[in-house]
Symmetry: C2
Subunit: 189 residues, 2 copies
DNA sequence: CGGAAACATTGCCCCAGGGCAACATTTTCA
DNA sequence: TGAAAATGTTGCCCTGGGGCAATGTTTCCG
């Protein structure tokens, strides 16, 4: 149950068994169905999630009804509606498991409690933020000023499994393309 | 000289005078000219900067020669080529002061030394990362699936001074538009 | 201060990629 | 398992916004 989370922590920091167990004790398991919502637009995000199995997607819908996906958390990764979680304000996005998933969840209060009391956990959180920031920057540089084909090649390069793992429609909403354009271009690769 | 930096720190955390002075003592002043480079593509970023006056721009140039700007640090703000600074790897971007500027710089070693020894400074850094992350997310949601006019309205809404402060060309490279398109649309607002 | 260079504006044309729709395929769940 | 719903594919057409270039304007620095 907690093996993947333990692996995640021990791979990134030096930590004794007692602390590890203490951290894990704050995470509780949660099973979800395909397309189940973890957060609706306008709700304030109360949990951080770790994915044991499945996949969480964060996305929004603009006023013309167009979906934009910003992030996916897969097996062995953390994910939440971070802006809402951090600022404790209503989210401008949805969070859902796009596959039947096994998650571990920790409440916001417990999470920041761990950040404030366990240096290793603070370090992990810092790393998550640093990495999240870097990923976002790469995406901005990687997507702006690129045409459709370059964007597709960019994901294939940087996240090789992505196009195989998620539906065409969802991949298109991540790349900022219409499903038809993505479909057409994939056929030519 | 350090007043703006002191204001920044005291506005965000509770901190005694001695610690404040100790932090400031690690920052040294740096005057730069318009369009002076703080970092070239491929160099590893060794400093974090605080802007007393002027403006720092982070941007990259793709293989077709197209510029994309990702971030601007104005008066009273921190800025650096964060991905390179964090990972200590060659940057995929340039950093330059686009105006004659007065900066305060701190070396990477000193910066992380402060993060590791002064809890208030660690908190400030966490806040910078959180905010940077949130800003990046908003930009992804704000720019993807928006047409040119909506993007312009988005910056006017979220960063009202931006279009007035930077050149048309640089604003266009931030918005992902051609200078001509931006010029045309501004005329119609 | 003045010439040069960079930048901004605007007209004209063109094309990458979106919209829509018809059809094929896959997935879902009763 | 099978009918219905969702998703994927592909053709046709159309448009937002980029490229280029001519002209006007601002900024720079010797």
């Amino acid at each position: 149950m907690y093996q993947l989370l333990r692996d995640y922590l021990t791979a990134r920091t030096t930590i004794d068994e007692a602390t590890l167990a203490f951290i894990c004790s704050h995470f509780s398991p949660l099973k979800t169905k395909r397309n189940q919502f973890l957060l609706q637009y306008g709700q304030t995000c109360q949990h951080y999630y770790f994915v044991n199995k499945g996949c969480i997607r964060m996305y929004t819908i603009n006023k013309e009804g167009l979906e934009t996906s910003r992030f996916f958390a897969f097996e062995g990764g953390f994910g939440t509606a971070l802006p809402s979680f951090i600022e404790h304000t209503p989210a401008f996005e949805y969070m859902q498991t796009i596959e039947k998933s096994d998650l571990l969840q920790i409440s916001r209060a417990d999470f920041y409690q761990l950040v404030d009391t366990i240096p290793q956990f603070a370090f992990i959180y810092r790393q998550i933020l640093e990495l999240g920031f870097i990923t976002a920057q790469k995406r901005i540089y990687g997507f702006q000023g690129f045409d459709a084909l370059e964007k597709i090649q960019w994901v294939i390069q940087h996240q090789p499994d992505f196009l195989l793992r998620v539906s065409n429609k969802i991949a298109a909403s991540y790349l900022g393309l219409s499903p038809s354009t993505l479909s057409r271009l994939k056929a030519k690769l």
